[in-house]
C-alpha cells in the first residue's frame, strides 16, 4: 500500500515514515506543507494520504483544507487526518458526505503501533477510522429522550466500535466474540434505534454518526 505523509514536525514525520515502512507500507512521499502534499498526491497517486491538521504557513486549517481538497479531487485517495485535538465539529466537516476512505485520529494514537497501523490499513482500503474521543463525545452527549438507554452495555460497546469505523471482524477480535455474534448485535442496535440497515461498513459509520449527532 502506498502512503503520502504531510507533517511539519521532522521528528514525527520521520518516525511515521519508519513505522509505516516497517509495517510493510510503501511511503512514496513525505512533505511538510499542504501545497506540496497536493502536488505529490497528484503525481504519485498514493492509496492514502496522512495529513497533520495544522500545517504551515498559518498552522490554522491548511491541513484540513488539503484533506477536503484531496477528498473532492482525488476520490480514489483515502485521507487520514491527524490532530493534537480531536473536535466533533471537525469530524463532522470531514465526514460531511461520506465516511468512505477517511479517518480522523488523535496524534497520540500513533504510539499504539498496532492499532494505528490497522487504522491506516483500514482507511487506505476505503474504510474509516474515527477517534474514540469523537465517538465517546457523541455517545455520551445528553439528549432529551435518549434512545441509547434502550441499548444493553454490550450493544453500546459494539455501537462505539462501529462508529469508530471497525469492521465486524475488527469488533469480533476486540470483544473476543464471533463475527456471527457481532452481526446479531448490529442488527439489534439498528432495530432499536430505528436505523435502516446499510450495506458497507463505512456507510454504516455515517448512518450511526448522523443518528448520534441529531
Amino acid at each position: 500500500m502506498r502512503v503520502a505523509i504531510a507533517e511539519d514536525s521532522v521528528l514525527l514525520r520521520e518516525g511515521l515514515s519508519r513505522l509505516l515502512g516497517e509495517a510493510g507500507f510503501d511511503v512514496v512521499a513525505q512533505c511538510d506543507n499542504a501545497e506540496d502534499l497536493l502536488l505529490k498526491v497528484r503525481s504519485y497517486d498514493p492509496d492514502v494520504a496522512i495529513v497533520d491538521i495544522r500545517l504551515p504557513p498559518t498552522h490554522n486549517d491548511e491541513g484540513l483544507q488539503a484533506a477536503l481538497d484531496i477528498r473532492s479531487r482525488h476520490p480514489s485517495v483515502s485521507v487520514l487526518v491527524l490532530s493534537q485535538y480531536v473536535e466533533l465539529g471537525l469530524a463532522l466537516k470531514l465526514l460531511a458526505d461520506s465516511a468512505e476512505g477517511v479517518g480522523y485520529l488523535l496524534k497520540d494514537r500513533i504510539g499504539d503501533v498496532e492499532e494505528f497501523v490497522n487504522a491506516v490499513r483500514r482507511v487506505a482500503a476505503g474504510g474509516s477510522a474515527l477517534d474514540p474521543i469523537i465517538v465517546q463525545t457523541l455517545v455520551s452527549r445528553q439528549r432529551a429522550d435518549d434512545p441509547l438507554v434502550q441499548l444493553t452495555p454490550r450493544e453500546r460497546e459494539v455501537l462505539e466500535l462501529m462508529a469508530a469505523g471497525s469492521s465486524n471482524q475488527g469488533i469480533a477480535d476486540k470483544l473476543v466474540i464471533t463475527v456471527r455474534a457481532v452481526e446479531k448485535y448490529v442488527s439489534s442496535i439498528f432495530g432499536k434505534l430505528g436505523l435502516p440497515s446499510t450495506g458497507s461498513e463505512s456507510r454504516r459509520v455515517l448512518a450511526v454518526l448522523t443518528f448520534l449527532r441529531s
Binding site: 518516525g15 498552522h59 473536535e87 466533533l88 466537516k93 504510539g111 503501533v113 445528553q142
Partner: protein
C-alpha cells in the same frame, strides 16, 4: 435712439439709409442686451461660489443689480424685435431699478436683525445650554447652518468634536476656522463657511459671548476623548493577552507535545523489536502510558490557555464541540457564512462556554439553547436555559468577566434571570 449709418464715400459721412440704420441699431441693442446678460451671469456665478452667508447688505444690493441687468437685457430684446408687451416690460424695469434703494434699506434692517440674533444668543447662553445644543445656538447667531465646533485638547494636542473624535481644521475649500481664546488659552475653533470671514466683528462678538459655554464643551469633549482612549487601550490589552495565549499554546503544540508523541512512537517501535522479553515490555508499556497521560494533561492545559480549534477552524466548529461536551442537551444554531475577526470570535466563544459552564453548575436546567447569528451591525450570541434563574450577576459566576470582555469590544452583555424563570444571556458584539 436715432443713430446714423455709414456714408457711401467716407465712413464718417452721414447718409440716409434707413434699412442699414435699422440693422445697425438692432445689432447694437442685441449686443447691449447680451452684455447685460453676461454681467448678470457673472454676478450669479460669483454669488454661488461665495457660499451662503455673505456680507448681507452688499449681497442684497448685488442681487437687485443683477435683476436690473436682466430686465434691461429683456427690454432691449423686446424693443429690437418689436414684440408685444414692450411697455409693460419697460415699466417693470423701471420698478426693479427703483426698488434698489429699498433693498439697500432692507439690508440695513437685516444687519440690525443679526445684532438682535446675538442678543438672543447671549440669553440662550445664560441658560447654560447643553454642549450638544451649543452648536445650534451659534449656528443660528452666525446664520451658518454648516457651522461645526472643534475643541482644543492640549494634552492630546488635537482638535476634537464633542464625541472626542479628532477633527482636522479646514484648509481652503471655502471653509475657515476661527480660533476662540479664553484667558490666554486656546479653547475651541469655529469651523464655518469662508464667506463669514467678511464679518469679523460678528465672529468676534459671538466668540466672546460663547467663551464660557465653549470652555464647558471643551471639558465635555476632553472627557469623551479620554473615555475613547481608555476604550482603545482596554481592547488593545485584551488583544495582547489573546495573542500571548495563542503563542503559548502554539509553543506547547509545536514543542513539547510533538516531542512526546515522537518519543512514545520510538518506545513502541523499540518494544516491537524486543521480541520475547515480557519484563522489559511491561516497563516500556508503563512508560508509554505515562507519556499518554502527560499528553492528555498537556492538552487540557493548552486548551485552557487557548482553544486552538477556534483560531484554526472558526466559531461554528469550536462551538459544536463544547455543545457536545456539555452535561445537558444543547440545541446549537450558528448562522455565520464567514469567519469573523479573532477577537470577536474569541469573545463569542467565551460567552458561550462560560454560560454553559454556569448553567451546568447553578441552573439545574433540563436543556439549553445557543444561538449565534450575524446581524447587520455585528454578532448576537444568546444562551437560554430553562433552569431556576436568579443568577448572581455580580459575584463569582464569571458573568462580570464576560461583560468586561464584550464591553472592551464596544459590545453589550445583558442577562435576564428572573427567579424560577430560567436565564437568558445575550451578547451583542459589533464587528464590521
Amino acid at each position: 435712439m436715432s443713430l446714423g449709418a455709414f456714408g457711401p464715400r467716407s465712413l464718417f459721412q452721414l447718409s440716409a439709409q434707413p434699412d442699414a440704420a435699422r440693422v445697425v441699431q438692432h445689432v447694437q441693442l442685441l449686443s447691449l442686451s447680451a452684455i447685460c446678460l453676461v454681467g448678470a451671469g457673472v454676478l450669479v456665478t460669483r454669488r454661488r461660489q461665495a457660499g451662503r452667508p455673505r456680507r448681507r447688505l452688499l449681497g442684497l444690493l448685488v442681487d437687485s443689480f443683477a435683476l436690473g441687468l436682466v430686465m434691461i437685457a429683456v427690454l432691449f430684446a423686446f424693443g429690437t424685435f418689436d414684440w408685444p408687451g414692450f411697455l409693460a416690460i419697460q415699466r417693470a424695469t423701471l420698478v426693479v431699478i427703483g426698488i434698489s434703494p429699498l433693498v439697500f434699506l432692507l439690508g440695513l434692517l437685516d444687519a440690525r436683525l443679526a445684532r438682535s440674533a446675538i442678543g438672543e444668543l447671549i440669553l440662550e447662553l445664560r441658560a447654560d445650554p447643553d454642549p450638544a445644543d451649543l452648536r445650534d445656538a451659534l449656528s443660528d447667531a452666525l446664520r451658518d447652518p454648516s457651522l461645526t465646533l472643534a475643541y482644543w485638547l492640549p494634552d492630546f494636542r488635537a482638535y476634537v468634536d464633542l464625541d472626542g473624535q479628532e477633527v482636522e481644521l479646514p484648509a481652503g475649500n471655502g471653509r475657515t476656522a476661527t480660533l476662540i481664546e479664553r484667558n490666554g488659552g486656546h479653547v475651541a475653533a469655529l469651523i464655518h463657511d469662508g464667506a463669514l470671514d467678511d464679518e469679523p466683528q460678528l465672529l468676534d462678538v459671538v466668540g466672546a459671548a460663547a467663551g464660557i459655554s465653549l470652555e464647558n464643551g471643551r471639558l465635555h469633549a476632553e472627557l469623551r476623548a479620554r473615555l475613547e482612549e481608555l476604550k482603545g487601550s482596554r481592547a488593545r490589552l485584551l488583544d495582547a493577552g489573546q495573542r500571548e495565549r495563542q503563542n503559548l499554546e502554539r509553543n506547547l503544540h509545536d514543542g513539547a507535545q510533538q516531542r512526546l508523541i515522537a518519543l512514545s512512537l520510538e518506545l513502541s517501535m523499540l518494544e516491537q523489536k524486543l521480541g520475547d522479553r515480557p519484563d522489559l515490555q511491561s516497563r516500556l508499556d508503563g512508560a508509554r502510558a505515562e507519556i499518554a497521560l502527560t499528553l492528555e494533561e498537556l492538552r487540557d492545559v493548552a486548551r485552557g490557555i487557548h482553544p486552538a480549534v477556534l483560531s484554526g477552524h472558526g466559531l461554528a466548529v469550536a462551538l459544536e464541540s463544547i455543545a457536545a461536551r456539555a452535561p445537558l442537551p444543547v440545541r446549537l444554531t450558528v448562522e455565520l457564512d464567514a469567519r469573523l475577526p479573532d477577537r470577536v470570535e474569541a469573545a463569542a466563544f467565551y460567552v458561550v462556554s462560560e454560560s454553559l459552564a454556569n448553567i451546568a453548575k447553578h441552573a439545574e436546567a433540563s436543556d439549553a439553547t445557543v444561538l449565534v447569528a450575524k446581524t447587520r451591525d455585528g454578532l448576537v450570541v444568546e444562551i437560554v436555559d430553562d433552569g431556576v434563574g436568579g443568577a448572581d450577576t455580580e459575584n463569582g459566576t464569571g458573568l462580570r468577566g464576560l461583560a468586561d470582555r464584550v464591553e472592551a469590544l464596544g459590545g453589550r452583555l445583558r442577562v435576564w434571570t428572573p427567579l424560577g424563570g430560567g436565564t437568558r444571556v445575550q451578547a451583542e458584539i459589533p464587528c464590521a
